[in-house]
Symmetry: C2
């Protein structure tokens, strides 16, 4: 049996139940989606707690084992039947069939092509999950409808397993953990999609930043620092203002149109163009931890993943065509190294190519497409990477390679992108003097290495469920005293650790030691040191780790060595 | 004799000469300024090269030894005399004297109160220096006039000395050196006041950033990272939108009024307010290398000193009133340490206090003013700092301390500022729970430690004339080969140095060794290594330093040790 058919049929049962309970509602659409279905209703205004009674009504309909019956009806008749359903009438206009397909289930009917299950008894396991608002046809100019989401599976067992996984994922939700671990906050007066990193969140970001800066410098990148503000003229040249304007913050100041940059490339190109460049200077690898801005719709915003200001570890490699292969390979090796260091294992590559027939979408330069796509493929094969090819999904200016990962909810996300670009060098008239003394066009690789730092932080929070590897932990050690007598010795140990670059916190509260340890565990702190009279006497420490391991009689210098080595090696723990 | 009087009188002679050569010009104003004078003219359109003939005409007038004669004239008569001088008529309106004062010099006359020298022979040494545009009365709604600048001194000797100093300063000009040393560029399509740091400039900025971050963390600061974009609501609360709007970038997006932040404080306050705070948490020292924006007038922009986007090493110390003294002392100690590390020696403090009588300008809280001013003074005296007191120059919310330095042109600049603030905690309703279980108001210290990084870079460039101390040098070592045979060995040495974190550049060009060394010296590179067959044979290096010192037979490991130690100690060279 087709699960999608079951899910779509369940949405009909949902609509039937809602119609019974709220006869005045107007029907929108009710498709199957991943794991379930939804249905949109006009003139409905219910609350989450009402979902229970709707579910009950649905179970009644299912118990009656109603049949799904298709009827083909003339357009005129259909218009009559749907006279009180404005959204359905709107949909009817788009159909150019002679006979209009309807599905009947008991007293309920719906404009629908099917297919459907035979009868409601085939629905074995479903649950309504949440309410949301949705514009009719997704257009904010239209009516706002109320959307009811549900899930449906072939068996109760599968449904329960799904709910269990969801619950597991929910524990890893970076928004929830971000609050619990005090990593970032939002503020109504600052605005939506503009996270404020607290001291702990800032530590993680700074470590990632310095890590990637140092690593890239070692690999021959040169860092630049360019302004986030620019005249819109810059983005007229790049073409972004034409293609991308509505996602940009554009405004006027001092009689000039200004933008908050959505990209780093044109800024770095201006540095390239500030001097004459020779083939001897190439490749030039400009990197920048660049603050970028996207005017995302407020409904699209999500935690640290979709935000309006973010820091991208961006770079542009400007090279001769004959250098492209090596540079591209080096980029992939850097990305592999970064993924390994962060501890991300389950990822794959998506290689997006052009469609030579789609002349409108792509720059018409078959030779350049050929070179760049062949280069990408060659290196992917050479490095034996696991990749999927996707036709007609390239950027307009060249092929791209996305690094894909599943998030904790099982949803596929792109975390980094690498693109080969032969169009912008043309638009910006970028050149280099070749060995022949003539001017040539360079090619450009646009790439990230560690992605948008905020998004990567979100992925790390979810991946590790907040229990970051030692080198990334905002607090690496918490020191707790058994009695007030021990505070002085605790302070001495804290100072010694700090002198060695270890991030330490102390807890001298009046709680019991058990409670203190529990609190530290909830904060997912890697090392917990407890100090009582016994420890003080011997000058050693009792050391607990996050995973429950307890050791006694550890000498401070040995602990410092252990921690320093793990940090140095960036152990994934 | 009063030099100011000589300078102002010279401006009359300038106007007389211009009137002779360009009879249609309209007279603006002609005051004495530091080192000289200027005069503004309407309906004048000359070029720099015309200044010579004007100077010649001035010398003729001076040679004739014309007297300066004051005449007091009735308003009616004055209006008649000035009927063709619209700007002078405009000035006349502002005068409420019965008799209007004019000064005559030969056929030239000017609406002027004086005083003046007796006759033109007292003008011993002057020179016209440059042309500029200036709006009448400094208002961009008014006519644009042409301004001629000149300098004047009591003797030719002093004039020459001044020109020599100017020339010296010009060699240190950070805009000129920034170009020569390839530290930053501007781009017309990016816009005015928005510098792009090249790889070399970015190295300096990153070193300063990491230096101050690490130092502040050691001293108990916690870093935050907050967005540069915010709803204007945030700045309504702080009061900036009312007082400061025209210097801010304000625009609309998604139906909300947004700003590019001019300050960090309200953002960090939102983090403070995201949790309940107890007296046990205080002091909280939030630091951030914060990108800030000021919509400076385009005429105000200057190199890296006055720009529209800059990075301020900002911090806000939120503390209990009883903690203020210690915190303020720690801030001053940090600043002293930073100044010493940067090698800045000639600086002093300017302590700006309120005026209790000026009720409009200041928050009316005499007790808070008293505490905070006394605290400032106490610490300044305790630390035996050299400071100047300035009445009625505080910020509206509290007293401030500016750290003042003379730039290479002898002009006084503020490089950092420390303020005590008892007003914003009120406006933002910031509280902490005291030991008594009640809510209390904290006090706040606003401070910088290393200032605006771009401005500090400009100061460093000018202070060191581009010959940065080793730890700040974008390139620390340049390796040059005598013959192509030696390239391989050069590369080996370069790799070894780089592995030890030393920033190396190579020059394998076909130039002579002398030329190569000269090029490296022009780039002010601290260490130059030259390698020929002899060096390669022995495995040692010939090492030159910027100051002309040459040593032979240096072992690579010894050089690495020498450089590493100097960098580690941040030697000022």
């Amino acid at each position: 049996m087709n699960l999608e058919t079951i899910r779509h049929s369940t949405s009909h049962v949902l609509a039937a139940a809602v119609k019974r309970l709220y006869p005045k509602v107007k029907l929108g659409i009710g498709p199957a989606i991943e794991d379930g279905f939804y249905y949109d209703f006009g003139d409905l205004n219910i609350k989450e707690e009402d979902l229970e009674s709707i579910e009950k009504e649905m179970r009644k309909i299912i118990a009656k084992d109603e049949k799904f019956i298709q009827k083909l009806i003339s357009r005129k008749e259909a218009e009559k039947i749907l006279r009180n359903e404005p959204y359905k009438l709107d949909l009817l206009k788009d159909l150019d069939d002679d006979k209009i397909s309807f599905y009947y289930t008991g007293e309920f009917f719906d404009l629908c092509k099917g297919p459907h299950i035979k009868s409601t008894k085939e629905i074995k396991a479903f649950k309504l999950t949440k309410l949301a608002g949705a514009y009719w046809r997704g257009d904010s100019e239209n009516d706002m409808l109320q959307r009811i989401y549900g899930i449906a599976f072939e068996s109760e067992k599968e449904l329960k397993e799904h709910l269990r996984l969801l619950e597991e994922a929910e524990k890893r939700n970076h928004i929830k953990l971000g609050k619990e671990l005090d990593l970032f906050v939002f503020s109504d007066v600052v605005g939506k999609g503009l996270p404020l990193l607290t001291p702990k969140g800032t530590i993680i970001k700074r470590i990632l930043e310095r890590f990637i800066e140092d690593e890239e410098i070692k690999r021959g990148y040169q860092y630049t620092e360019t302004p986030v503000l620019a005249k819109s003229d810059l983005y007229k040249i790049s073409g972004h203002l034409d293609h991308y304007r509505e996602s940009m913050f554009v405004f006027e100041a001092n009689g000039e149109e200004m933008v908050l940059r959505p990209m780093t490339c044109p800024h770095q190109f201006m540095i390239y163009k500030s001097k004459l460049r020779s083939y001897k200077d190439l490749p030039i690898r400009y990197a920048e931890i660049a603050d970028l801005f996207r005017n995302e719709q407020s409904g699209e915003l999500h935690g640290l993943i979709r935000i309006r200001q973010f820091s991208l570890a961006d770079a542009h490699i400007i090279c001769m065509p004959e250098q492209l292969e090596k540079e591209f390979e080096d980029v992939l090796n850097l990305i592999k190294y970064v993924m390994k260091t962060l501890g991300f294992k389950n990822y794959w590559y998506r290689f997006s190519k052009w469609d030579p027939k789609n002349k409108k979408k792509y720059i018409d330069n078959p030779k350049a497409w050929d070179i760049s796509q062949k280069t990408m493929k060659k290196i992917l094969d050479k490095l034996k990477l696991e990749y999927i090819e996707a036709d007609d999904e390239a950027a307009f200016y060249g092929p791209k390679l996305d690094i894909q990962m599943k998030n904790v909810y099982g949803k596929e996300d792109t975390i980094f992108t690498v693109q080969i670009d032969f169009a912008l060098p043309e638009r910006f008239d970028m050149t280099y003097e070749g060995e022949d003394g003539r001017k040539h066009r360079p090619m450009i690789i646009h790439r990230s290495s560690i992605g948008c730092l905020e998004r990567t932080m979100a992925m790390l929070i979810e991946h590790y469920a907040g229990a970051f590897p030692l080198w990334l932990s905002p607090i690496q050690v918490r020191i707790m005293n058994l009695t007030d007598r021990n505070i002085k010795f605790c302070e001495k140990i804290a100072k010694e650790l700090e002198k060695n670059g270890i991030r330490v916190e102390t807890d001298y509260s009046k709680e019991t030691m058990n409670k203190k340890v529990r609190n530290a565990q909830l904060q997912k702190i890697p090392y917990m040191i407890t100090i009582g009279d016994k420890e003080e006497e011997k000058g050693t420490l009792a050391v607990r780790t996050r995973n429950g391991n307890v050791r006694f009689g550890i000498r401070p210098e040995d602990l410092i060595k252990e921690i320093s080595e793990k940090v140095e090696n960036k152990d994934a723990d």
